[in-house]
Amino acid sequence: MASRLLKGHRFLRWVNERLPLEKAYKTHMSEYYAPRNFNFWYYFGILSMVVLFIQFVSGIWLTMQYTPDAEHAFDSIEYIMRDVSAGWFIRYMHEVGASFFFIVVYLHIFRGLLYGSYKEPRELLWLIGVAIYIVLMMEGFLGYMLPWGNMSYWGAKVVLSLIGAIPYIGESLQVWIQGDYQVSGVTLSRFFALHVTLIPILLIGLVFLHIIALHQVGSNNPEGIEIKLVKNKDGVPLDGIPFHPYYTVHDLIPIVVFLILFFGVIFYYPDGGGYFLEPPNFLPADNLSTPEHIAPVWYYTPFYAMLRAISFDFLGISAKFWGLVVMSGAIGLVAFLPWLDRSPAKSMRYKGWASRIMLALFTISFVTLGVLGAHPSDWMPFWMAPFFTLIYFAYFLGMPFYTSLENSKPVPQRISSGR
């Protein structure tokens, strides 16, 4: 197809002699063979690319009108909402986009857990993915501060105080990051700089590596079968189909369905029922008036619940620091999955009952922690947060044991049925 495209085009031929146009097209599109049995869960990779694009473009236009300074930041958001042509639309896209980014990324990660996409030979692909998730959390945190509403201010204060809880170096580290003895306009300006330059560059770079690494090892699939093991005489996997045109036209459907949901929220529920835009953030930042209940945006709440679950000092170090350790441990452990999973099978379809039950418990505990973290700590009995934190950790730390003890079914060589 590529050569056919290049045939009549002198200019393209000229470029192709100087830049690997045809080679890249073949490697990543027309001769990248993807398993033919992708299902619903395989939509969320491409959808996160779509949201990344939306965030990137809407972010450029917001940067043109936003003022990163404590005096004017809040007013400049209202200026964008009221006086800039279509400013409200661009701002809502960016704000709803942030939440949708995390929705699709969480579903994308869940797919990885479900079908064992982290297992050999995709360990590095998984590690790059974990790095993307961490960078994305940083980007979200920095961006949430920019409207300079009261929740932006107090949320940032709570998170930055975690750094201050690190023994010995914490306090000076916190001052270094804030650029001031408290969260102030200086912090706002530097967070803006990081939000629009360093972190997006990292994010795009990592996403690029994620795709290159994916195309090197090939996609996993719901059966967890390595399609590269069975090839025809031309070296084409028998269970693979060219990514272009088959998956490009296939993925247009979920993209349009996604856009219907996305624009449905933008036009009808832009504040996401108080979860995407929190009501206290409609008051400007005020260091003298604390919101009644400080909660991070919904996508951080599972980790916030874990932080609050640790309520006792230990070894003379504050509970807050141990909470930080548990919280970062919860994220860090995800990176070790390729080496924690000892099962011979990748997909849940061939793994044993122990793996299935543990994944179900893990999912329940993650969602429950998310709900708990969005509410005041006395909303439910106190034992719930520590209990579900334990289950969360048991999923990872117990994995070497339950995956090697359970009986898994033998994985076939070929993809037999449809999905």
């Binding site: 009221r82 247009l252 349009v256 036009f267 009501p279």
Partner: protein
């Protein structure tokens, strides 16, 4: 006399529920397309609220356009200070003298409806009542020991509850409009965008089907 223990327990329970639960807010269900109500609410805002509360993000010109008020009418009937059409709503009294008088500066109300919600506004504004315990003999059901004066005292005590309720509903409508002037346009635009995307789904689906027919064979 035997039951005094129960009385104590009961009163603790009752006060605990009163403290713990959010006060029951009255539903108002404002209609964001009803510019008539917003216009009447705007009039009330200018007469009773603007004295103390600015709305610094709301320009008179924008209100004139959105609520179809003639610029001349806006100047003569609504704007009651030296502001021009391009200005935003400024409070009449300086806020530092007001904060001395009431103990807190009256907040800017541009975004109040998005901060508190329409039901809170409606319940608060209809929630004033006589309370002999307090020095000025009034209180509020939603915001206990309120500092704000009972501005609409005369209306609330001299009008029928129905008429007064309608009046507050108009004021709430205006404040909901003011918190997000684009909202009614946004919601009416949304249907075209969604309709377009829904129609787009058809060719996209047929395209996929035509390509994948080769594979399923």
């Amino acid at each position: 006399m035997i039951n005094w223990r129960w009385a104590v327990v009961l009163s603790i329970l009752v006060s605990a529920t009163c403290l713990g639960a959010e006060p029951n807010l009255r539903k108002v269900n404002v209609d964001i397309q009803d510019t008539g109500a917003q216009k009447r609410g705007f009039k009330i805002y200018m007469e009773y609220c603007k004295g103390c509360h600015s709305a610094k993000f709301m320009r008179y010109e924008r209100i004139a356009t959105d609520l179809s008020i003639d610029p001349e009418e806006m100047r003569s009937q609504y704007i009651n200070d030296s502001s021009s059409l391009h200005d935003s709503i400024r409070s009449t009294a300086p806020s530092d003298s007001l904060s001395k008088l009431f103990g807190a500066a009256p907040p800017d109300l541009s975004l109040w409806a998005r901060y508190r919600g329409e039901d809170w506004l409606y319940s608060y504004l209809t929630g004033f009542y006589f309370d002999s315990e307090r020095s000025f003999s009034y209180n509020n059901k939603v915001l206990h020991n309120v500092n704000m004066p009972w501005v609409l005292n005369y209306q609330q005590t001299h009008e029928t509850p129905k008429i007064f309720g309608e009046r507050i509903r108009d004021l709430t409508s205006f404040m909901v409009y003011m918190a997000e002037p684009i909202r009614s346009y946004r919601e009416s635009m949304g249907q075209y965008v969604l309709l377009f995307l829904a129609l787009l789904l058809i060719p996209v689906y047929l395209l996929k089907q035509s390509y994948w027919r080769e594979i399923s064979q």
